[in-house]
């Protein structure tokens, strides 16, 4: 599987302090940057893995992705007309549902037509509905954003976070992986158990579950950039969505969740969470 998944570099277990791990990662990245000039690999296109099978730790070993995404869907809320065709396109045209076992981590987004077709805004990877009526600050009164305010409709898109990637690091199962060629942070549905920890971990609450947490067949959905040709961008009726080279927007995008789950869940904590979620 995962022909386009990034190469994984194991972090030696003898490195126990954060400083030691950081030093190792930086050395590895700079070596691969050098290799990139030789045409071997992209800048930082590497995943790190901490812990190994010999450990008596029952949780899946942690991977650390430092590779940035190659692209990003950016939204211009002064152009959005609130039609939500992007949400419909996201779920209906790409792998927004996994009913036929479609796995965005392993299957090219646009080639597969076997998955069932549906329109389900609740699992859309771009989120407009939740800001439509009252805006990002919710229904406090009628003086905010949205249809009952000043008409600003904020389209929430996945920021494809740089390292540390909150949803990826929080996932107790290592189900969120970085997949080339665009290095989107993608849910590997073969691994995902639908616990919902990623939903809580994302400061912007971008992942969503397609069923009850941990129920059979429940999976997490998050933006995988449609392998570089996002369906939401193509469907936008007013040119409000654009696919651009990745830039870091995390620092100036206000968080939606004020108390996200820790992105550094210890394995035993993750196990505890998974028992309930």
């Amino acid at each position: 599987m995962a022909g386009n998944e990034l190469p994984v570099v194991a972090i030696p277990e003898e490195l126990t302090t954060l400083e030691q791990v950081r030093e190792f990662i930086h050395k590895t990245i700079s070596r691969r940057s050098f290799n990139k000039s030789l045409g071997i690999a992209g800048l930082g296109a590497v995943a790190f893995q901490y812990g190994c099978a010999s450990s008596n730790n029952t949780a899946t070993p942690r991977q650390v992705y430092v590779a940035n995404a190659q692209g990003l869907v950016v939204a211009d809320n002064t152009l959005c007309v609130g039609c939500r065709r992007c949400e419909a396109a996201c779920v209906a045209f790409n792998q927004g549902n996994y009913a036929a076992g479609n796995n965005p981590a392993t299957v090219s987004s646009t080639s597969d037509t076997s998955a069932s077709t549906m329109t389900q805004p609740a699992i859309s990877n771009i989120k407009v509905n939740r800001n439509l009526l009252y805006g990002v600050n919710g229904a406090k009164d009628n003086t905010g954003q949205g249809l009952y305010g000043d008409f600003t409709v904020v389209q929430n898109t996945c920021l494809q976070c740089p390292h540390p990637v909150p949803c990826q690091l929080a996932c107790p199962h290592g189900a969120i992986q970085v997949v080339g060629p665009v290095n989107a942070r993608v849910v590997n549905t073969d691994v995902c158990v639908g616990c919902g920890i990623c939903v809580k971990a994302c400061p912007w609450q971008m992942p969503s579950l397609d069923g009850q947490p941990t129920a059979a067949n429940t999976k997490s959905h998050k933006c995988h950039l449609c392998n570089g040709a996002p369906e939401c961008v193509a469907a936008c009726t007013s040119g409000a969505l654009t696919y651009v080279p990745w830039v870091d927007q995390t620092s100036f995008t206000p968080a939606r969740q004020t108390v996200p789950a820790s992105i550094q869940l210890a394995p035993d904590v993750a196990g505890t969470c998974a028992a309930c979620h």
């Binding site: 002064t78 152009l79 959005c80 007309v81 609130g82 039609c83 939500r84 065709r85 419909a88 396109a89 779920v91 209906a92 045209f93 549902n97 597969d112 037509t113 076997s114 998955a115 069932s116 077709t117 549906m118 329109t119 389900q120 805004p121 609740a122 699992i123 509905n129 939740r130 800001n131 439509l132 009526l133 009252y134 919710g138 229904a139 009164d141 009628n142 003086t143 249809l147 009952y148 305010g149 000043d150 008409f151 961008v233 193509a234 469907a235 936008c236 009726t237 007013s238 040119g239």
Partner: protein, 896 residues
């Protein structure tokens, strides 16, 4: 349960009296008369509603009786992501109409799709809650919640409260104080600017404040992803702008045509002027780009319609923040505006609506009153009125009752006391009909710190008039209501007269001006049986002549009626409810911007496209192509309306009515669709009239002809050819089901009219009707012999009594203003001459032409000519045999 494609698969029944909420399968829905019906065979929306009303609501039920139902219906297309599939049909009895027949209101927004995502195709609501409640639908969890803290509140507060309760993704359909207080013109509102007319008081009567919906489920689509995406992109490539204008108002690089009439107003230099930053909408330069996978010009569709500029010119352009509209609709027809001056009146600066939603009660009463006040900015008044309507919850009525108000505000009538010394010969109409104290208050009592009375503010064009008006209407004070302090018994015992208060002119007064305005002009002219109010005869005459706007027989003024292709629009408006038919299938084709004919290319233009539609077997409505013989001309290119009625035009009128019924059932927007024309030069501007059928099959996975075969025993039914078309298509199959819904509604209307007027008789008059000369405002339609050249059978009297037995004469009736050669308002009847002025649209509409037109359309629809009723043959062929017995029980003789 097997996956349900298209339909959500469940219908929710809410009994407010019992406090129960139970869901049943859509394809096996138990009705209260014991029958179990597969509601998918009625498609959805209005179809479900009509069937529930037919089987569950006893004839004679009044709008506000607990036994009345209100049905919120959506269809297989709703929420699918198919273009313009965001609408909801709300079916109940019609409280504005004096007979209170079955009818529906419509709203867009995001509420209907959310209902589908929650898992429901419809909600059937019955009974009456003992105390105010709101209905909370969170996926499969449905509860009735206490609304006592919301009762008396406006829609903005109530919506805010419910969204806070349910989460930011919820959508709320809500009534305001108007609906609570049983103002007949009240509506049901959702998503800030989407409004379903005339059904608000039904919820009020049931103590149901609102319905909040949150759904996390899916609408399943049968087609595979690739096929679905391909269909959607094909669909998008054929769309035009608002009202399906397929070419732009200003010439764009790709188009040969640029008429002023289309609403494709986006162009270089046309702005969203209040946006930050200001947006220049630009050309749509690449409309022919392959649409299969390419984003362009999908990414421009939302910029095509600039309704602010279209409706308010440069001022509108300057005030536009952006455009908005319904779920999944690329045609954005609502203007979002920013008018900072509204803050001076304590009204939100941000408002939104479309068309006449932007010219409702307040603005229409003001803008024609005075013109010198510097504050009288049409946008200020429009958006202020819009804001208050949206909070109090009254429907704009496409200006109908405001136009009537403008007339009766200024009208003078003979003084009943004229013979007395010192009395003037005439007095203002309102002075005659209002209490002395109220009239004095309206004229003289200074409001707030304005120093002006309510009417003074109105005359000055001051927005504060609206702030007085809306709560005043919402109070709905009538004197039969004991709460008002002045009481009388509106339904007195035998021999005892109702005794409302009497003013100094000796005229009984039944309520305040607010009460009179809120009931709508149809009631105001014809009376309100709940208070004993008999109506104002002066208004009745003014509505018939067109002096007080142009109203139809069954209430509400004309709207895309006779002004739309003359006899074509007249037929649609007359037969499809004879009130505001609001039929955009016809209107959209009429105003799509293409020329009627192109001299250099006989295959171009509207005439050629329309001819193809109805002479080449694309529809169950059909006409022989005799254009070569010159007998059946479509739009003749000289005057769009100067074409005598012919079978091809009858087919077009019938197809327009049925296409609208299809849209209201499936549900799709009838303002943006169908796509009978397109912007694509490569297709010679042709659209695709089979798109509803294609989408239906892709979504539901059902072969439409087989589906209809299972429902009615035939894959399609065409009354005009007396059976199934030889090569029925999916579109023809769906048209058949839509005709079925329309026919069902016709039966229900006839039954109610028969109940209300069981003893009327109609005879064929032999004298041609004259409107030039002494006006004879006969209640019944004057008859003129049909010219034999039309080739339709001559008529005979039915010999039966009652309005229901004589739908041709009682319901499908045109007021005299139809035969004026002006737009109506304020002008006396002029002529019936067919060869009148070429500049007006009514000159071909003599009574004879009207009767010929009716006969031809009846033949298309399978209705009998003399009675205007669906025949038994038609009812049986459409799987409506049960209606024969129901109609007979109601005293109607159903023609064979």
């Amino acid at each position: 349960m097997a996956t349900s494609y298209g339909w959500a698969g469940k219908i929710l029944r809410v009994d407010l009296s019992a406090g129960t909420c139970v869901s049943y399968p859509t394809n096996a829905f138990p009705l209260s008369d014991g029958t179990v019906v597969d509601m998918t065979t009625y498609i959805g929306g209005t179809g479900i509603g009509y069937r529930v009303m037919a089987n569950e609501v006893p004839l004679g039920t009044k709008s506000w009786d607990p036994v009345n139902r209100v049905i919120f219906g959506v269809g297989p297309q709703t929420g699918s992501g198919s273009p313009s599939s965001g609408r909801t049909s709300i079916i109940s009895l019609h409280p504005v109409h004096t007979a209170e027949p079955v009818d529906m209101g419509q709203m867009g927004g995001h509420w209907g799709p959310e209902l589908k995502y929650a898992g429901y195709d419809a909600i059937v609501i019955q009974g009456k809650s003992p105390n105010p409640v709101w209905l909370r639908i969170q996926d499969g969890t449905v509860t009735l919640e206490d609304a006592s803290m919301l009762w008396g509140s406006g829609i903005y507060f109530s919506t805010n409260y419910i969204v806070n309760n349910m989460g930011p993704e919820a959508h709320v359909a809500c009534i305001g104080q108007m609906g609570e207080n049983l103002v007949r013109m009240a509506g049901i509102f959702c998503d800030r600017s989407h409004r379903a007319g005339v059904v608000g008081s039904i919820l009020g009567s049931k103590n149901l404040k609102a319905i909040g919906v949150r759904g996390t489920g899916a609408v399943n689509i049968s087609a595979d992803k690739k096929a679905w995406k391909s269909l959607i992109n094909y669909y998008m490539s054929l769309l035009g702008c608002n009202n399906q204008g397929v070419v732009a108002k200003n010439l764009q690089p790709w188009s040969e045509y640029s008429p002023g009439g289309t609403r494709w107003s986006g162009a270089p230099g046309v702005l969203w002027g209040a946006a930050t930053p200001v947006r220049n909408l630009g050309n749509c330069p690449d409309v022919e780009h392959p649409m299969t996978d390419a984003p362009t010009p999908i990414n421009k569709i939302g910029l095509r319609t600039q309704k602010g500029y279209n409706d308010f010119s440069d001022e509108g352009m300057k005030r536009t923040v952006r455009m908005d509209g319904c779920h999944a609709c690329p045609i954005r027809c609502h203007i979002a505006t920013d008018i900072p001056n509204l803050l001076n009146y304590g009204i939100s600066r941000y408002n939104m609506n479309t068309c006449t939603g932007n010219s409702g009660l307040g603005v229409a009463t003001i803008s024609n009153s005075a013109g010198s006040n510097p504050t009288q900015n049409p946008m200020l008044l429009s958006q202020g009125s819009n804001n208050l309507e949206g909070d109090y919850g009254i429907w704009s009525d496409y200006q109908g009752f405001t136009n009537a108000f403008k007339w009766y505000y200024k009208a003078t009538v003979p003084n009943p006391l004229a013979s007395q010394t010192g009395q003037p010969a005439t007095i203002p109409l309102l002075q005659k009909y209002l209490l002395d104290s109220e009239y004095k208050m309206l004229r003289t009592t200074a409001l707030w710190n304005s120093g002006m009375s309510p009417f003074g503010l109105l005359d000055a064009g001051d927005p504060r008039w609206m702030q007085f008006l809306f709560p005043y209407v919402a109070q709905n004070t009538n004197f039969a209501n004991s709460a008002s302090g002045t009481t009388y018994n509106p339904t007195p015992a035998a021999g005892q007269a109702a005794a409302p208060p009497v003013n100094s002119f000796g005229v009984p007064v039944y309520g305040t001006l607010g009460y009179y305005i809120g009931m709508g002009p149809h009631r105001l002219a014809q009376g309100d049986d709940t208070t004993g109010f008999p109506g104002w005869p002066e208004l009745q005459v003014a509505m018939q002549t067109g002096a007080a706007s142009t109203f139809f027989r069954e209430g509400l003024q004309k709207h895309h009626s006779i002004e739309t292709q003359g006899n074509l629009g007249a037929m649609v408006n007359m037969m499809q409810r004879n009130r505001d038919a609001n039929n955009h299938t016809l209107q959209n084709f009429n105003t799509n911007g293409l020329p009627n004919t192109v001299a250099t290319d006989p295959t171009a233009g509207k005439v050629a496209i329309a001819q193809e539609l109805f002479t080449q077997g694309q529809s169950i409505f059909n006409a022989p192509d005799e254009s070569a013989a010159g007998k059946y001309a479509w739009w003749d290119g000289k005057s769009a309306v100067n074409t005598p009625m012919c079978m091809a035009r009858a087919a077009f009128a019938a197809a327009s009515m049925v296409n609208m019924e299809l849209h209201n059932a499936i549900t799709q927007c009838n303002y943006t669709l169908p796509v009978w024309a397109s912007p694509l030069k490569s297709r010679k501007y042709r659209g695709d009239p089979s798109l509803e059928g294609q989408a239906f099959e892709a979504i539901t996975g059902k072969k439409a002809t087989a589906f209809v075969q299972a429902a009615i025993g035939s894959p399609a039914y065409s009354p005009i050819i007396g059976g199934a078309p030889s090569a029925p298509t999916a579109q023809m199959a769906l048209e058949t089901l839509a005709l079925r819904n329309f026919t069902l509604q016709r039966c229900l209307t006839a039954m109610k009219l028969q109940l209300v007027n069981p003893n009327t008789t109609y005879t064929l008059e032999t004298t041609p009707y004259q409107v030039n000369g002494v006006p004879t405002y006969s209640k019944y339609h004057p008859y003129a012999p049909i010219p034999t050249s039309y080739g339709v059978p001559q008529l005979a009297a039915t010999g039966l009594s009652g309005d229901g037995n004589n739908m041709r004469w009682s319901h499908d009736y045109a007021y005299p203003w139809n035969y004026n050669n002006t737009t109506g308002a304020g002008n006396p009847p002029a002529t019936t001459n067919v060869s009148g002025s070429p500049t007006t649209y009514l000159d071909v509409m003599g009574a004879g032409d009207t009767e010929a037109a009716k006969s031809m359309v009846y033949q298309q629809l399978g209705w009998e000519l003399n009675s205007g009723l669906p025949t038994q043959t038609t009812l049986k062929a459409l799987g409506l045999s049960d209606m024969i017995a129901k109609m007979q029980a109601a005293g109607i003789t159903v023609p064979a």
